[in-house]
Point group: C2
Chain length 231, copies 2
Amino acid sequence: MASPSGFERGLDHGFDLDALPLRERKKIQTGIRLWRTAVTLFAERGFDQVSVAEIAAAADVSKMTVFNYFPTKEDLVMGPMEQHIDEPARVVRERAPGSSAVQALRAHYLAALAVFDPSTGLSDDRVVLDVVRVIHQTPTLLVRATAGFDRKSQTLLAAELLAQDPDHDEFTAKVAAAQLLAAQLTLTADNQRRMLTGERAEDALPAALDAAHRAFAMVERGLGDYGAGTA
Amino acid sequence: MASPSGFERGLDHGFDLDALPLRERKKIQTGIRLWRTAVTLFAERGFDQVSVAEIAAAADVSKMTVFNYFPTKEDLVMGPMEQHIDEPARVVRERAPGSSAVQALRAHYLAALAVFDPSTGLSDDRVVLDVVRVIHQTPTLLVRATAGFDRKSQTLLAAELLAQDPDHDEFTAKVAAAQLLAAQLTLTADNQRRMLTGERAEDALPAALDAAHRAFAMVERGLGDYGAGTA
DNA sequence: CACCATTTTTGGACCGGGTCAATTCTTAAG
DNA sequence: CTTAAGAATTGACCCGGTCCAAAAATGGTG
């Protein structure tokens, strides 16, 4: 029932839906039902204007059950998108031999843009847009979407950089990870902002690709004398 | 009474303490008293293990009064350090003509290090250390200290960069701001981590200065082929 | 000094998010 | 069919935060 819409795929655990104990399947279905009703209500009236009790009632469960599936109210929105946390580290780990960290992450990001992966912010999908809109309208969610996500992701990437390249020290790896993810996060935020103004993803693609090239180039070549006026 | 300890200076509004209506003075004193008792209790037993009611009781006030001075429980910890939000933007705005954004921010940060300004993370002060320890032990505070602080700061810096240098576009300014603050944040986090291990600020100063030089250099010159192995 | 106007403080009731111990239901074995 | 084990579920509870009306404290004024 209904299209998985990209985000929902994050709610199962990567297995085949129809191939496991009937018990587990029901659990997964309940999780998806909860998430979907929550997002719908949030999109209609705003995150803070919907109580968890209300979501529970709308999904015919008790309040506690909701917290059983999602540890906090915020997770009802953020949960599914947090499976991407280890992606940057993975991309760097599995990069082609001899290619730099910047090259690997840029290539990965450009590819994701080309297929309109929701994680790039460049997506028309109605549900994805609902989620993004709710996040951008709710300060606490926005903070968590950036920092909360980014911090863990950054730690993992730094560890990966250090492991793969032991001639650089730990601090250098941390700074590099911060630079890379800051660029990527800025790109995604910009794409999301454009989508929220109603622009179609396909129309925004060229600009998004160009922006990505420029952002990663800034990380690769540095800011130089940016701001010195005499450039 | 008791040493102002750097942080507490953030609680008054920059005026002379003893020169204004007795009414205002009492208010400021109460604010400091509340903040200090809260930090003490947090340091002793952890942020989540101390209720606001308890703080109010320890300071001989009602719960409502606490919220009257600090909008949220988190502000009891973070409040004083959030006055630095507009600092990066100010530094860039007031930089010497012809100097780049990187140069201006690096010089400012190095100067702050040299005087052990708490905002750099390099500070021995007992109260500062208490606050930093509490923040690092409490996930929600850590998120707010990084993202929450950084996001606003970053927006301001990006706006400043754009205003001062109209030949660069808005997106470039955003990426540049993100790069600069990511480096600075990484530096500060690293310094704080070192202080929490018990290292003396004076002993850590040389390493901190060196790290700052390297971090800003990475922003200035770029990551290049970092990770390519063939450096 | 006494009085009024303004502001701060207070207590209490209340709401929503989140936790816990106990209850109910499902499931599998005998 | 009975029963014991284990999980899903629940209702009672705690804490952060808001709202309100009343009480207290302060500053200015006759």
